[in-house]
Symmetry: C2
Subunit: 221 residues, 2 copies
């Protein structure tokens, strides 16, 4: 059996302004343990802002999403604009505020958010092609926004946060409450989601949910 | 049985100028899965330099080791200068070039390197107090340098890299060749080391060695 090919899309490197680092590494580890063939991508754009993760305060720095994501990827990363969905069996988006600040602007604009065109195109093509797609933490909100635009209404979870759940329902998705160690699978639309740090307090419980998501994504391929 | 208290010392966030991100997260995950009580530390100093991880080239930016390490710690991190070795049963240093560029300057000065005084003091106190200490990837070189200064000559590994092995022998340690999925334990000195990305090609094999190191560290406590 040939290896399953999975694109992992990052949004920077750090929970408050980029991809959540634990979620990203746990995703990559779980994929490698299942012998998946992974290519990491990120869009070549500036971050919305840079947050000092010690103080939680924004700084006056400017950083690039692809360049910072390369820290998690150990340099082995490509511009998402170069990605062709046909090359992959599945796509996984780890979470972190970068998803809601860099890949789209849901963190500041909520229901009025717009999605980065490269990200929107990649996810839309994936949904239309019936690729298996996994979304971790806040990333299901991005999926809900894009899916709603093409009249898809998948079952997804962002955990139990009521205001975010209400937003994804407004986008047209169906929200399902879910524990951190569990995941939600929409077999018809081939979409898998898990709450991770939307809900989790400990890295070990976040890992349990993500490992289940990765296994479900690969089984759906 | 009370929880084992472990200090994890980071050196930034990114393999080329800071703590190796995979090694750091895998260490934190393995510790949490064993129900250890973890406090993350880093020194409050500027990085030696900043490397663009997409191109591998240095940039003209300036970043702080504690602030960047806070990305891996999700903000839950303290200045290493505030750490008291008496509060911990064990200490673990993940690897990455940050260990050899920020915690000491082994990467540029080799045998003539000097160690950051806060780091040197913390490790020296740990060795003198008989605390259990784990060092991943290139971090055993830092340990060898500090141990040699107090006439300790532990068995350690940095994998199979001959020039680095020769350097740690010059510092007074005894180098043992080791595979990436394995580890070296010096029971007398309570020191555990594993090669990780000094040798590893895949995150899953690096994880196997680090998980064994974490288990050995906790068993020695």
């Amino acid at each position: 059996m040939s290896k399953k090919k999975v694109a992992v899309v990052l949004s920077g490197a750090g929970v408050y302004d980029g991809a959540e680092i634990h979620e990203s590494v746990i995703t990559l580890l779980a994929l490698d343990r299942q012998d998946a063939e992974v290519q990491i991508f990120a869009p070549d754009i500036l971050q919305m802002h840079v947050v000092n993760h010690l103080t939680g305060q924004p700084t006056d720095e400017s950083r690039n999403v692809l360049v910072e994501s390369a820290r998690i990827a150990r340099g082995d990363i490509k511009d998402l604009a170069e990605a062709n969905i046909k090359d992959f069996d599945a796509v996984i988006f780890p979470g972190g505020f970068g998803v809601a600040k860099n890949l789209c602007d849901f963190a500041v604009k909520g229901l009025d958010c717009s999605v980065n065109p490269v990200v929107e195109n990649f996810v839309t093509e994936g949904l239309k092609a019936g690729k298996v797609m996994g979304f971790v933490c806040i990333a299901p909100a991005l999926l809900a926004k894009i899916a709603g635009q093409i009249d898809l209404h998948p079952d997804i979870t962002i955990g139990t946060d009521e205001s975010t759940a209400a937003a994804v329902e407004q986008f047209g998705a169906h929200h399902v409450n879910c524990l951190v160690k569990d995941f939600v699978i929409d077999e018809k639309n081939k979409i898998v989601t898990t709450p991770a740090y939307m809900l989790g307090q400990r890295i070990s419980e976040v890992a349990e949910g993500i490992e289940k998501l990765v296994n479900a994504v690969l089984e759906l391929c």
